[in-house]
């Protein structure tokens, strides 16, 4: 393995760290690598980078590896890490910020479908003011080219009335739309 | 070394005599050594050569 040049990596990563710290409000160097976040993470078994490794990689300037990892998308923001961190780092927020950055920079790697799901979900919320589950499922299946995924389950749910084919907009649709526009405006302003 | 060699020379089984450096703080080593030695001596059986006849 070619040695990592630490001076260069840290120097080059400094801007990223600054921005991430600003966005998440967390100080990356606070982490002392005790690993309690990883020890408690319910999704750790599926992650390619452990939560504490995420922190360390950012610290030494290897943020690109973090943005392309599955971990930031597998994180379900359950916040076990946050509540247990002895240094009071809100790691769940850091993960959130990382997802936002990844999406913004178009650096979504292997976990494309999770990002896609998020987009379809938000689209549904924007359109109807609520999650139209059938529509979200169908769109996600079509766009990930697996049209019949979960169709057995879908049939049962439909029959029992747990899944509705159509939906209706909520009352305050205009407000919802305003929220979305506002968010978009602030994001662009960065 | 001289003792163990001599004892073997006069016909005692090797292992009847042993010397170890153990500091007062090495309790585990004492226990281990005594256990080993006891097991070994038990296997060798009683020493018939130097019966105490006082």
């Amino acid at each position: 393995m070619v040695p990592l040049n630490l001076n260069r990596a840290i120097k080059e990563g400094a801007r990223f760290v600054r921005r991430l710290e600003a966005e998440s409000g967390q100080k990356i160097s606070d982490c002392n690598q005790c690993g309690k976040c990883t020890a408690g993470c319910p999704l750790g078994f599926a992650m390619d980078l452990m939560p504490n490794q995420v922190m360390h990689l950012i610290r030494v300037g290897l943020w690109a590896e973090v943005l392309e990892s599955r971990t930031i998308w597998l994180c379900s923001h359950c916040a076990v890490c946050t509540t247990r961190c002895p240094r009071n780092i809100d790691l769940a927020r850091v993960m959130d910020s990382l997802r936002i950055t990844a999406r913004r920079e178009g650096r979504i790697g292997s976990e494309r479908s999770i990002a896609l799901f998020n987009e379809i979900f938000l689209d549904s919320v924007r359109r109807y003011g609520r999650a139209h589950e059938f529509g979200i499922g169908l769109r996600h299946n079509l766009l990930t080219r697996r049209p019949f995924k979960d169709s057995d389950l879908g049939r049962v749910w439909l029959r029992r009335g747990k899944l509705k084919l159509g939906t209706r907009k909520i009352k305050g649709a205009a407000e919802i739309d305003r929220i979305f526009s506002e968010v978009e405006r602030t994001e662009d302003g960065r | 070394m001289l003792v163990s060699r001599l004892l073997e020379y006069v016909g005692l089984e090797p292992g009847r005599f042993e010397m170890r450096w153990i500091s007062a703080s090495e309790g585990g080593k004492v226990a281990e050594t005594v256990r080993e030695m006891t097991e070994r001596i038990r296997k060798l059986g009683p020493n018939r050569k130097m019966r105490d006849e006082r």
């Binding site: 040695p3 001076n7 160097s29 030494v60 | -």
Partner: protein, 661 residues
């Protein structure tokens, strides 16, 4: 026939919870010599002790066996109990049925019961053969010798002197102050080291109770607790300190320049010199090895310029003796010479790879750079500084297996100093663990991290020069990858080791060293400032690596012990020591070299045998002040003339026989 009392203690549930104490006591009542036997919940408690006293009186007991805890804990307690009951305190034997039995055999109660009875039988067998022993008294010279004038020695000397006793403080360097005064700042408060140590140096030098010998070494320590005689060699300074005013003309004009020991080799000094401007005494010595006059017979500049005519090339070493009652060894530490073994760090060939001590001098306002952090090779300001911890420490292959304890903290301090002195600098610290056990230490380390120090967990395997920069190749084990840092300067936290001459000092003082060469304390927890040689105490890093707070604390501890010892004019001696049967002694004196305490010496006796005229001959004599009762002589004596009181062959064989029944 002896009348032995057996007292089995429950120690609450410690013993009573495992074995059946009344049953043990009942078994003991059948042993030969046992006139009374009982048990009680807490034998060491007041009612317990009273019970012992009452039993002794009622049953006319003349000796006692207490079956309880380790004699280290309560032997003294029960000896006093016996005295209160009117018996000789040494008519007591303890059976340790707690540490030796119930604590270790709790899982096998049946066996524990048998063993407890065996242990009591052994103790009874010995007790039956005990004889009263009597303490004797020796006089005490109420003065103290302190060896080493570092912070430990100074503190100990000041504390003993303040307690009202005279102190002889001996330092081998031309100034007192030791290692501490070389430091720039001290963690975790960042006090200026000189500001807190130089006043102490002056206080020691001017204290009416302290007699200071600098540039002097101890050559011999004879005698024993309360009555030592120390031989001190005052090395020739070639400057008459009576005449010298310390004006400084000589060292300003001296033409010779040699690397300064005080500046860890990175600065220079003259051949006639004071180690640093605030030296105590503030008067120079001539380094004969480098002096131009001593080498060529010409020069004499210092002698010509000295306004008081204090330079005296003919001065010779002076050997003098002092009588003292106690000794404090405070000889400090040395630093591991990394350049001999660390080829991967360049064997000391790269000028910008420096040690922590050199770094101290580089950032010290009184150092060769006036406190500016400049790298040695070209005087440039280093922008990237890499610190490597555990150079020699925790390295069994090349250095020493132990942790040097101070490096984590001073490296954090160095990191902060770099960040403070060089704005925008990058600081990397390669570490295996960060150990910050001390008041305010972890906070201090966090401060270094928060201020931007990058701590990299992993060791450095190689440093090499690449043009102007040093490439530090290491690993980040949290990353699991090898890493490299381009550095302007590398600072090595070299291991703390026993000071040069520690082995010799130990030999002179007759004290032991541990496997790493540090002085051995009498007990790691309960007697940390005493040695096995009575009257010789330890202070500071000569005992183990130590930071300043611990050093000062131990020094005051040693001083308290000394003050306690010197508080009385008389001292009682331990009677459980070797005794020579003069009729059997052939005078071969093979016992003399085996005695670590030098307690045996030839003595003339006049022997009268029936049918012969009285004749004079030499036998071994035991110095009751020196003998510690270790028994080495007992073993060495073929004639069987030496016995240790309280551990005679008869007593020991009786114990063995009792156990083998």
């Amino acid at each position: 026939m002896p009348r032995t009392g057996v007292f089995v203690c429950w120690c609450g549930s410690n013993i009573g919870g495992v074995i059946d104490c009344p049953e043990t006591a009942a078994a003991a009542s059948g042993f030969p010599g046992v006139a009374f036997s009982t048990d009680y919940k807490y034998m060491c408690s007041e009612p317990g002790q009273n019970m012992v006293i009452q039993a002794i009186r009622e049953h006319r007991l003349d000796r006692a066996v207490v079956a309880s805890c380790s004699p280290r804990l309560h032997e003294e307690t029960f000896r006093k109990t016996l005295v209160r009951a009117g018996l000789n305190p040494y008519m007591l034997e303890m059976a340790n049925i707690r540490e030796h039995c119930t604590w270790v055999h709790g899982a096998d109660i049946q066996q524990a019961r048998i063993k407890a009875v065996d242990l009591v039988r052994r103790a009874v067998a010995k007790a039956n053969r005990l004889e009263p022993l009597f303490e004797s008294e020796i006089s005490v010279t109420r003065r103290c010798l302190v060896i080493g004038g570092g912070v430990a020695g100074i503190q100990a000397a000041l504390d003993v002197a303040d307690a009202g006793h005279e102190v002889i403080l001996v330092e081998r360097e031309p100034t007192i102050g030791g290692n501490m005064v070389k430091l720039d700042k001290t963690f975790p408060t960042l006090d200026c080291s000189a500001c807190i140590s130089t006043p102490k140096m002056v206080a020691a030098a001017t204290h009416p109770n302290i007699k200071l010998y600098t540039y002097a070494e101890i050559e011999k320590l004879a005698g024993y607790v309360g009555n030592f005689e120390v031989t001190i060699r005052q090395k020739a300074r070639y400057v008459d300190h009576e005449k010298c005013t310390g004006c400084g003309t000589c060292w300003e004009k001296c033409p010779t320049r040699v690397p300064s020991e005080f500046d860890a080799g990175i600065g220079q000094r003259t051949a006639i010199y004071i180690p640093f401007p605030q030296a105590v005494p503030n008067k120079p010595v001539i380094d004969r090895e480098h002096c131009r006059y001593f080498a060529t017979g010409k020069c004499e500049i210092c002698a010509k310029l000295c306004p008081t005519g204090a330079v005296d090339y003919g001065q010779e070493d002076l050997v003098l003796t002092e009588k003292v009652g106690a000794v404090v060894a405070a000889t400090g530490f040395g630093l591991f010479d990394w350049s001999r073994v660390y080829g991967e760090y360049g064997y000391g060939q790269y000028p910008d790879v420096v040690t922590g001590m050199q770094f101290e001098r580089l950032v010290n306002a009184a150092g060769p750079t006036g406190g500016k952090l400049l790298r040695p090779s070209d005087g440039a300001t280093p922008r990237t500084v890499v610190f490597i911890k555990c150079v020699g420490s925790r390295d069994e292959a090349k250095g020493r297996r132990y942790c040097s304890r101070i490096c984590c903290m001073y490296t954090a301090k160095h990191a902060l100093q770099v960040l403070e002195k060089v704005p925008g600098a990058s600081v990397f610290v390669f570490y295996m663990d960060v150990r910050t056990a001390g008041k305010g230490y972890e906070e201090f380390y966090q401060r270094a991290v928060n201020n931007g120090t990058v701590y990299v967990r992993g060791r450095v395997s190689k440093i090499y020069q690449d043009g102007e920069r040093l490439v530090v190749r290491g690993v980040d084990t949290l990353l699991g990858r090898p890493v490299e840092v381009d550095a302007d300067m590398v600072v090595l936290a070299t291991a703390v080791e026993p000071g040069s001459g520690a082995a010799e000092t130990a030999r002179i003082l007759g004290i032991n060293t541990d496997q790493d060469g540090f002085f051995q304390e009498a007990h790691p927890k309960l007697r940390p400032v005493e040695t096995h040689t009575r009257g010789v105490f330890l202070a500071g890093a000569c005992q183990a690596p130590k930071d300043i707070p611990d050093t000062v604390a131990q020094a005051s501890g040693a001083a308290a012990k000394v003050a306690g010892l010197l508080s009385s004019k008389w001292l009682s001696t331990n009677p459980m020591i070797a005794t020579v049967n003069e009729a059997l002694c052939t005078g071969c004196f093979l016992c003399v070299p085996v005695c670590s305490y030098r307690a045996l010496e030839p003595k003339k006796i006049t022997e009268r045998l029936p049918g012969h005229p009285p004749r004079e001959r030499e036998v071994a004599g035991v110095n009751t002040g020196l003998c510690q009762g270790c028994g080495a002589c007992n073993v060495a004596c073929r004639a069987g003339a030496i016995e240790v009181r309280g551990f005679t062959n008869e007593q020991l064989l009786a114990e063995v026989d009792a156990l083998c029944q």
